[in-house]
Amino acid sequence: MIEAKALTRRYAGRVAVRDLSFTVQPGEIVGLLGPNGAGKTTTLRMLAGVLRPESGTARIAGIDILADGLAAKRRLAFVADEPRFFDYLTVEEHVRFVARMHGVRDVAPHLEHLVEHTTVGARLAAFPSELSRGMRQELALACALVHEPAALMLDEPLTGLDPIAIRRTKDVVRAAAARGTAILLSSHLLHLVTELCERIVLLRQGESVAQGTIADLARARALEGRSLEELFVSLLADDTP
C-alpha cells in the first residue's frame, strides 16, 4: 500500500506540493494527473524517498519512509520519467546490479523473462546508448520489478513510446497489479489512464483538486459517458487562479 498524508514540499519558497493525502491499495492502479508543474513528479519523488517532504508522512507497505527509509525502499520501486542508465553497464549488468541492491539472489528467472517477453532481451550485452527509447523503458521496468515490490511508482511511463511498446508496458503494469502491487502512475496520456487506472488523483499547483474513480467524478459533474479529457478540463477549470 502507498499512503501519502498531508505531504508538503517547497522549492526556494515556492510551494510544489501542499497538504496532499491519498492512498493506493495493494493491487490497485491509481493515476496521478495534473497539468505541467502541478507537483506530480515531486509527489512521486517524495513517496520514493528521493526527496524529503517538509511535513507530512509517506508510508510504503505500512513503513514510514522518513522513519525507516531503507526498509521502505526495499518494498518500493520507482521508474523516473526518461530513466537514465549507467554508461558502462550492459543491459544484463543493470538487472544484476539492481537485483544486488535489493538482495535478490536468483536473477536468472528475471533475465529469462526479459529474453522471452521483451525486445531488449535480445540485447543483453548492449550498452544503454545503443538502445531505443522503448527498449530503455522495458529495461527500466524490468529492473524496477526485479525485487517484486509492494509499491510501484511510475513517472510518465508511456510517453514517447510506440504502440507496441505501450501495449507491452500496459501488460507489465497490469500483471504487477494482479500480483498485488500498489501502483501509482503519472501521465498526460489520458486515454491510457482511462484504460489502466481504477482511480485518479488530480493535482493543480500542488494541491489535490479531485480524487476518486473516473465514473464517480464524471457523475458528480454530470459528465457521464464523456472522455477523461473533458472531465480533466472541467475539474481544472473550476476556480482557476
Binding site: 522549492y11 519523488r45 520514493a48 524517498g49 528521493v50 526527496l51 524529503r52 527509509g69 531503507l70 526498509a71 525502499k73 526495499r74 518500493l76 520501486a77 520507482f78 523516473a80 530513466p83 537514465r84 542508465f85 549507467f86 554508461d87 558502462y88 553497464l89 550492459t90 549488468e93 544484476r96 546490479f97 539492481v98 544486488r100 541492491m101 535489493h102 550498452f127 546508448s129 545503443e130 527500466a140 529492473c143
Partner: protein, 539 residues
Amino acid sequence: MSDALAYLVARTVVNAARQMVRRLRQPRYLVTAVAGIGWLAFLGRAGLHPVHAADPAAALPAAALGVLVFVAWGWLFGTGARVLAFSPAEVTWLLPAPLARAGLVNLKLLRVQALVLLNSVLWVLLLPSADLAASLRRMVGIWCFLSILALHRIGAGLTRSRAAGSRWLRLVGAAVAGALVGLALLMASGMVTAPEQAEAWLAAPRMRVLLWPFTIPVRPAITVDAAAWWTALPPALLLLVLHFLWVHRAERAHEDESTLQSLARLDGSPGAAAATLRQGTAPIVRLSPTGSPALAIAWKNAAAVARRRGLAGAVLLWLVLCVVVELLARLDATAAAYIGAFAATWVGFVLLTGPQFIRNDLRHDLPHLPALRALPLRGHTLLAAEVASSAITLTALTAALTLVAYLGLRMSSDVPAWLRQWPALAGVLLALPGFSLMVMVVQNAGAVLFPEWTHLAGRTGSAAALGTNLLGVLMTMLGGAILLLPALVLLPYVPEPSGLAIVATGLMISIVALAECWLLVRWLGGRLERLELWEDLRT
C-alpha cells in the same frame, strides 16, 4: 560501501577499459593514447635520473603558504560541494534504492580518489627520488596531501552551501572570509615590500606559528628522510580521517540541497545550471529578430558566459585590481612591477591553457549537433560563429590581464622603455584577437576531426585522456608558433621598436590569423557537414 556499489564500480571499470581498448583500434585514438603513454614514459625516465632537488625544509613554509591560500580560496570561492552531486543515472537508480547515504557519499569520494591516485603517480614520476622506497614514500605522502586538499575543498563547499541558507552561518562565513582576506592582504604587503626577504619573512616565528597547521599535510609529501617521514605521516593521516568524517557530517546536513542539485541535473531544467548560472537575468545585448543566423549562435554562446555566476564580481575585482595597481605603481614601482610580471605570465598561461576550460563553442554544442545541422547554415558559417564565441571570451580575459600587466610594468625601470609605452599595450591588444582565434580554431578542429577528443578531454584517468589534453596543448602551441612566424620574420628588420611598428605588428598578427583561420574554417566546415558524430561516440 555495499556489495551492489562494489559491483557497480568493478563492472564500470572493466567495461570502460574494454571500450577504451576497442576504441584504440582506430588509428586517430591510438595516436592520442601513444602520446599520453609517451609522456608518462618521459616523465618516468626523468624521475629515474635525479636532478638537484630543492631543500625540503626550505620548501616547507612556502608549501604551507600555498596550502593556506588553497584553503582560503576554497572558503571564499569554492564549489567543492558539486563534486558530491549525483549523476542522472545515480539519481535514477541509487537514490530510491535501499542504500545507506554514507555508502553513496563514499562512492562519490571513491571517484575523487581515482583522480587523486592518478595525480599521485604523475607527481612521483615528475619529482626525482633516490630509490624505489623513497618513491613509494613520496607517493603515499602526495596521496595523503592531495586527499586532504580534495576533502577540504568538498567540506568547505558543503559548509558554504549550508551557510547560504542560514543567516548566522552567513555572518560567520563573512567573518571568516574577511579574516582570510585580511590575512592575505597582510601577507601580500609583507611580500611586496620586501620580496627579496620572503624566505626570512616566512621563517619568522609568528609566521611559523601561523603556518604550522598547514605544514601537517605537506610534510609527508616533501620529506626525504625515512625516519622524518614516518614521524610526519601519522598526523597527516589523522588529519585525513578528520576531514573524511567532516565531509560525511557536512553532507548529512546538506543532504536535501545536494539531492535538489542532482535532481535539477537529471531534469535538465534551468535549475540544472543553477549552480553556475544566474537565473532570470536579461541578456547583455538583446538579439535582433532579423539578421545573420550565425550571429544568433554567437549571441547564444556569449550569453552562456555573460550569465555565469560570479562574472560581475570578477569584473569588479578586476576594476579594483587595476586601480590598486595604478596607485601602487605611483608609490612603489618595484612592487607594482611584480604584480605586472605576474599578470603578464598569466596572459601567456591563459592563452596556452585557456582553450581547455573556455569551451562556449562547438565543443559545448557537440551533443546538440543534429539540431544545429538542421539550421539553415553552411558548415563553415556555423563553425565560424561557434569559434568566434570562445575566441571573444579568451580575448576579453587575456586583454583584462594584459591591462593589469601594463599598469604594473609601465613605471618599472627594469622593463625596456618601448614596452612601457602605450603602443606596446595597443599592439598586444590588437594581436590578442588573432591569437585567441587561432588557438580556438585549433581546439574546434579537434572537435570536428576527433569528436571523441572533446568527449575524452572532459574525462580524466586514462592515458588516452591525458594524451588528448596533451596534444591539445601541443597543437595550441604549434598553431601559435605558425601564427607568429610572419612577425618573427619581420622582427629583425625593426632595430629599435617604434610605437607605430609595434601597433602594426599587432594588427598584422590578427589579420594574418584571420586569413589563416578563415581558410581552415572553410575546410573544417565541409567536414562538419559530413560528421557522423553518434557513430563515432558509440565506438
